[in-house]
Amino acid sequence: FRIMAGKVKWVTDIEKSVLINNFEKRGWIQVTENEDWNFYWMSVQTIRNVFSVETGYRLSDDQIVNHFPNHYELTRKDLMVKNIKRYRKELEKEGSPLAEKDENGKYIYLDFVPVTFMLPADYNLFVEEFRKNPSSTWIMKPCGKAQGKGIFLINKLSQIKKWSRDSKTSSFVSQSSKEAYVISLYISNPLLIGGKKFDLRLYVLVSTYRPLRCYMYKLGFCRFCTVKYTPSTSELDNMFVHLTNVAIQKHGDDYNHIHGGKWAVSNLRLYLESTRGKEVTNKLFDEIHWIIVQSLKAVAPVMNNDKHCFECYGYDIIIDDKLKPWLIEVNASPSLTSSTANDRILKYNLINDTLNIAVPNGEIPDCKCNKSPPKEVLGNYEVLYDEEMAQSDGPDRDLRSRPGQSTGVKGNRARDSGKPVLTTWK
């Protein structure tokens, strides 16, 4: 009886085998949401209800959920940009060296999101920016959608006339989130490999925002377009050229079901080291770690740091041909569908490692206790940033001074203490 009482009771509203197999292999017990549960892997719709003001859900200390209540501060395209802009301005006001700008007024260390405006609200600001560079291409993305739905490219103001009308007529009416768009400067010079465009999908687990504790999954991957990249204006409408989402690419003629256009990040590293050298490659990866941590720090003050929550994000990053990484967006509910056999294995292991960290020892959780998990349970995760550890200023212990191998924790510590010692990439 006591052994039975000790088993974690789980619920999910996402019917994916990579999840369910992981719960079952731990001997956890499936229950429904109306019963007493310890672990609920929710969809983003459900988390809205759980924490909404009306239902006034209160989670007890033996209950964990897989989303933060207001994750959309990071995962909605418009709010992410808003929070980052706010964060930068705050740092600037404090006089922090991180907010240093160059002679063109661009942030040196915090310019990692392409220029973005909300539509229709910022339409006029957008037009001003557009006119500075009339030959540029911009990408329109609906705020509330995913999987590449509703995205299109424009290179003429006439293509978004609709939003100019709306901005004039509805300046005081808040648009429903379904119609709001963000428009960002399109990165038309992406790094190409084998002539094709790709983006990076990296998984980041956040246990707590204040203090910030986050982990990066080592087995990220590149998602390649099946069609050769061309910035030619005649192909602006060809989504197979421009959008790397698997949901789109898998309908292309050349989609391959064995590898699904996915290339391990380790291959990317090998290729870049071999063709560009170790320093620039390390710099690139350090920057990627940096922008992930900065984006989390940007939203940390506004996040509801509920101790019953953890979250595994899917970060989408594009690298341009100058080897600069750009944060495109963050997904709260990265796809758990497997497009290939390898994919299934990867996602299974991802969930497994996530659960090992989020639910220590696979036992009924105790949210009052918030210890860092020991290194052995991390699996394929590595510590990306641990604010407590960074501030305690402890000795380096077993951190080696190998820029490629470290997760950037050392570099981040230096930055966090305010010293402009950005040694790994200055």
Binding site: G194, G195, H259, W263, N267, L270, S274, T275, R400, S401
Partner: protein, 491 residues
């Protein structure tokens, strides 16, 4: 120009030229070129020896290679007849234009290739090798524990472990290696940092011989592309780029049957490979050019193979319209030997040159029948001998259950392990091929893999089960395996 200077005196002209060569770097380039030739061409033989002897000294080997080539050519010709496609023909202008436009994305083409079949499979080649016999060798002995139990039954001399230990002395336990001593647990001060420093120095000196010695301990990833180019004596000459462009225009103008075979093979192999699919388009570019590259013909003076020659349709006998068919018409292995290079060289002309040089130095030996120590026959025999000598129980067991080890390892060796190992491991292996100027390490690695999985292999009871145990090599670390097999196994 500098000879017009008044300081130049006739008396010291010889010395001055020598100095000039040194300071301008030409001395080094000459040295590298000579060193390169020494590596590639066989030692001079007896002045009275006919040219066939330079290709292959043993008559029965020459004969076997000749029969094999005839068989391939017959197969190609019958495919042409069946499909009513000529071996070679000029492309209509519209098609030429189309191909030029699509040059960088041939992967998106979808020609109907269903009727093309590979000319032969690796196992067909293995059958031929198994049937090789030396007619001058009388083995009247009763089979005993001394008999060779493997599939290869020709008495070529192969090395044993003590000899291999000497040859591969830089792989010993006491010598630092990349692939072992650069792992995360080892502080870089112990070996890695110094090794990188030495590598940079070697590159600065532009010394081929030093580079070849250096890479025996592995190449740092950032230096590998340049080090291999130095060893293969490939520099960025404008005439090389022009040559590549010339080949490209040959491809545009003429259509070869072989092109379709290449196309089909790329689709079957690299396009589906987790590591290589990204580079699919480069593979077409390199391989299509390669089959029109007559400079490759030079290496046939020291290869046992004689390439079948054909002429563009309607131009029979006109040498400028000759095309040759490389002996390995089954492009499987070609493709997989180009693909790893795409991780190092992202410009097609350079990629092409590196591949061509690797082919004429090493890979051609994997596809032709010869007695050379790096030839596929010797490698097979070396593998079997190592296994039978050092893991006799395993060898015997596998033989008993109908799983002759060579049947499994053949495909690894014939592809130099490409497509089986993770790319970073493969490159560490190929570092050593270049460093030791020999393919023998492929046989040693194959034996080491069997040794590593010996426990599981002892428990299987069928060929299929043995294949399953050895199906996935992608997690293997090659250098520890080699080191343990050569230097840490009790013999």
């Amino acid at each position: 120009v500098s000879l017009r200077k008044p300081e130049i005196k006739l008396e010291s002209l010889k010395e001055d030229i020598k100095d000039f060569l040194k300071t301008s770097g030409w001395e080094k380039k000459l040295q590298n070129a000579v060193y390169s030739e020494l590596n590639v061409f066989p030692s001079p033989c007896h002045p009275a020896a006919p040219p066939e002897h330079m290709k292959e000294p043993l008559a029965y080997m020459r004969k076997a290679q000749g029969s094999w080539e005839k068989r391939i050519l017959k197969s190609l010709n019958s495919m042409c007849t069946e499909l009513s496609i000529p071996l070679a023909q000029k492309r209509p202008v519209s098609e030429q234009k189309e191909l030029l436009n699509k040059w960088n994305e041939m992967g998106t083409d979808e020609p109907d290739l269903s009727l093309f079949r590979p000319v032969y499979a690796p196992k067909d080649f293995l059958e031929v090798l198994m049937n090789l016999r030396n007619p001058n060798y009388e083995n009247g002995e009763q089979p005993s524990f001394r008999s060779h139990l493997g599939l290869i039954q020709v008495p070529l001399k192969v090395k044993d472990i003590p000899e291999l230990k000497e040859d591969f002395s830089e792989l010993s336990l006491n010598t630092g290696q990349l692939g072992i001593d650069d792992s995360a647990q080892v502080p870089p001060e112990f070996f890695e940092n110094e090794h990188v420093r030495v590598g940079q120095k070697v590159l600065a000196e532009q010394d081929s011989a030093a580079a070849q010695q250096y890479v025996r301990q592995g190449c740092p990833t950032a230096l590998r592309a340049d080090l291999w180019a130095l060893i293969l004596n490939i520099s960025n000459q404008p005439e090389d780029i022009l040559y590549y462009e010339q080949l490209k225009s040959n491809v545009i103008q003429h259509d070869l049957l072989v092109d379709s075979l290449i196309y089909k093979d790329v689709k079957l192999t690299a396009s589906n490979d987790d590591y290589y699919f990204v580079f699919e388009d480069y593979l077409y570019q390199v391989l299509l050019c390669f089959s029109r590259d007559t400079s490759v013909l030079e290496h046939f003076t020291y290869s046992s193979a004689t390439p079948p020659k054909s002429y563009i349709r309607g131009k029979l006998g006109m040498e400028e319209y000759a095309v040759f068919y490389p002996p390995n018409v089954n492009y499987n292995s070609f493709i997989l030997s180009v693909a790893p290079l795409c991780f190092l060289y992202h410009e097609p002309p350079k990629l092409y040159q590196i591949f061509r040089e690797m082919y004429v130095r090493f890979f051609f030996r994997l596809h032709s029948i010869s007695s050379h120590p790096s030839g596929i026959v010797s490698l097979c025999l070396l593998f079997e001998t190592l296994l039978q000598t050092h893991l006799p129980q395993l060898f015997y067991h596998l033989r008993e259950i109908g799983a002759q080890p060579l049947r499994i390892s053949f495909k690894w060796m014939v592809r130099a392990f490409s497509g089986y190992l993770a790319t970073d491991q493969l490159l560490l292996l190929w570092d050593r091929i270049l460093g030791y100027n020999s393919l023998e390490i492929l046989a040693v690695l194959a034996a080491a893999v069997f040794a590593f999985r010996a426990v599981n292999l002892m428990e299987v009871t069928s060929l299929a089960a043995a294949e399953a145990v050895l199906a996935d090599l992608s997690t293997l670390k090659v250098m520890p395996l080699l080191q343990i097999f050569l230097f840490a196994t009790v013999t």
